[in-house]
């Protein structure tokens, strides 16, 4: 591969990746994930691309890009997205969605419920539990009907070790940094090692199990959910997996049920079968009420 112009000569020498190539990558990545890198992100993107080029043994951007575009089976795409996105979990991450749950979504869900029917919420992926526990805490703290309505919280992750840690409910200070002291005191015990352990009653009230949203047989044996939190996962999937996941989300949702996606994700990540609903605190995606 010989550089044909000064543009590439300047780049391939190691200073960076040519602007034209970054633009090419940006368009591709945007179509694939919905994430658009503005010009301020040039350094971050360049660094990540160079890491991936080195990791996959491609000396130049063209050959890496052609590999990614034509030959990758999804594994490299997954690593690339991981490298380019912030992927940490902590209590009350994107907390405006928990506010939306209580302020806007649950009232609509309750309008449809028959007396005695439980409300079912699913957190997938639940990772090490921060999200489902946050949902539980939000309900206990902020939902007026929590004492009179039966709520089931289910939580699943493909990572069995993560699910195990979620059941243990043990967290460091960084994971709980968004929680008010009052909330921390009310639902956690401090351990000798300075960590925080969620109260047994909360740990026992959540159904944790391993699960894979891309498994076509997933809907079998699952109850119908009223609300699903599926945040910052679909973005890592290739089209085929994302389509399967979206099908599963649709099939396990009750008519009129809602899905919350990650803040960088939009309806483009799921299917046109869902309707985008804009609430004061957040967007959510609703399965039509007339559906079955």
């Amino acid at each position: 591969m010989t550089p044909g112009s000064t543009a590439s000569a300047a780049a391939e020498g190691g200073a960076g990746i040519p602007r034209a190539d970054l633009e090419r990558f940006r368009d591709f990545f945007y179509r694939a994930t919905g994430i658009f890198f503005d010009d301020g992100k040039e350094l971050v993107v360049t660094r990540c691309l160079k890491d991936r080029m080195q990791a996959t043994g491609h000396a130049d951007f063209l050959s890496y890009f052609q590999f990614l575009r034509f030959r990758d089976d999804g594994a490299e795409f997954d690593r690339l997205v991981s490298g380019l996105t912030v992927n940490e979990t902590y209590f009350y991450r994107e907390d405006y969605q928990f506010r939306c749950l209580v302020e806007s979504v649950l009232p609509e869900v309750m309008d449809r419920k028959r007396p005695g029917e439980p409300v079912r919420i699913w957190s997938i992926p639940c990772s090490t539990g921060e999200e489902p526990y946050s949902i539980a805490i939000q309900l206990l703290e902020a939902w007026p009907r929590v004492d009179t309505v039966e709520v089931e919280i289910h939580a699943s992750d493909i990572d069995v070790a993560a699910v195990e840690r979620a059941r243990e409910g043990l967290y460091g200070a960084y994971a709980v940094r968004n929680l008010e002291a009052r909330v921390l005191a009310r639902y956690f015990n401090r351990t000798h090692a300075g960590k925080y352990r969620i109260h047994q009653a909360l740990r026992g009230s959540i159904d944790f199990r391993a699960g894979n949203l891309v498994d076509p047989s997933l809907p079998n044996g699952l109850p119908s959910f009223d609300v699903i939190f599926c945040r910052n996962m679909l973005i890592y999937f290739d089209d085929r997996s994302r389509r399967l996941a979206a099908q599963n989300l649709y099939d396990v949702l009750a008519p009129g049920g809602f899905v919350f996606l990650g803040h960088a994700e939009s309806m483009s990540r799921i299917t046109s079968l869902f309707e985008a609903r804009r609430f004061p605190a957040a967007f959510a995606y609703q399965k039509p009420e007339g559906a079955q």
Binding site: T2, G4, T271
Partner: protein, 203 residues
């Protein structure tokens, strides 16, 4: 605590046999049709009945399951049915077919590229749209080959936009020649100019 531990899931119901599922594809109940399509995905010899149902299905959630199932089948019958849907007057079915074909690169490669020579520029444009996200190494060559002779400016713009992403510097002379063929179409010059800017650094 008011939050109750959930009861475990029930036993998963047995999936019906393929003959029953094929029958359910024609059921009055759309939820049953959708379920049949989901269960038939990936089963042998399901492509013909899935393809046939797609031609007449109007419910969007069933259509979606049929498209997903055909992608799973990933065979010639499925690809041909989807290529046929590119001619549908219904835009949402066409779009669904484009997205599905993008997921079946080998099956599409058999008859899909010949659509670039279809007499209807709308069909040619849809073929380009499939290729825009198709994971097949033949894409750059197929697209490049039409540039000298494509007469529709919208198709040219679509081809050039796609080449700007997947092509290399070998496309540059073609792009320059294209600009000369469409002197009265500023949008063609805009497309080609941007593509040249992106591609010329590469050999």
């Amino acid at each position: 605590m008011p939050l109750s531990p959930p009861r475990g899931p029930g036993e998963p119901p047995e999936a019906p046999d393929p003959a029953t599922l094929r029958h359910w594809l024609e059921a009055d109940n759309p939820a049953r049709r959708r379920m049949a399509a989901r269960h038939l995905a990936g089963t042998p010899e399901a492509s013909p009945c899935l393809a046939a149902r797609l031609q007449v299905e109007e419910r969007p959630e069933v259509r979606e399951a049929l498209l997903a199932a055909l992608i799973c089948q990933d065979d010639g019958v499925a690809a041909d049915a989807l290529l046929g849907c590119l001619r549908s007057p219904e835009v949402s079915l066409r779009n669904g077919a484009v997205e599905a074909l993008q997921q079946m690169p080998e099956a599409f490669a058999v008859h899909g590229p010949s659509l670039l020579a279809d007499p209807d520029p709308q069909i040619r444009q849809r073929a380009v749209e499939v290729m825009r996200d198709l994971r097949h190494p033949g894409v750059p060559g197929w697209l490049l080959a039409v540039l000298p002779t494509e007469t529709d400016p919208n198709v040219c713009v679509a081809v050039v936009d796609a080449l700007a992403e997947v092509g290399d510097a070998g496309a540059c002379p073609y792009l320059e020649a294209l600009m000369e063929r469409f002197p009265g179409e500023p949008v063609v010059a805009l497309a080609a100019g941007e593509a040249l800017h992106r591609l010329e650094g590469w050999e």
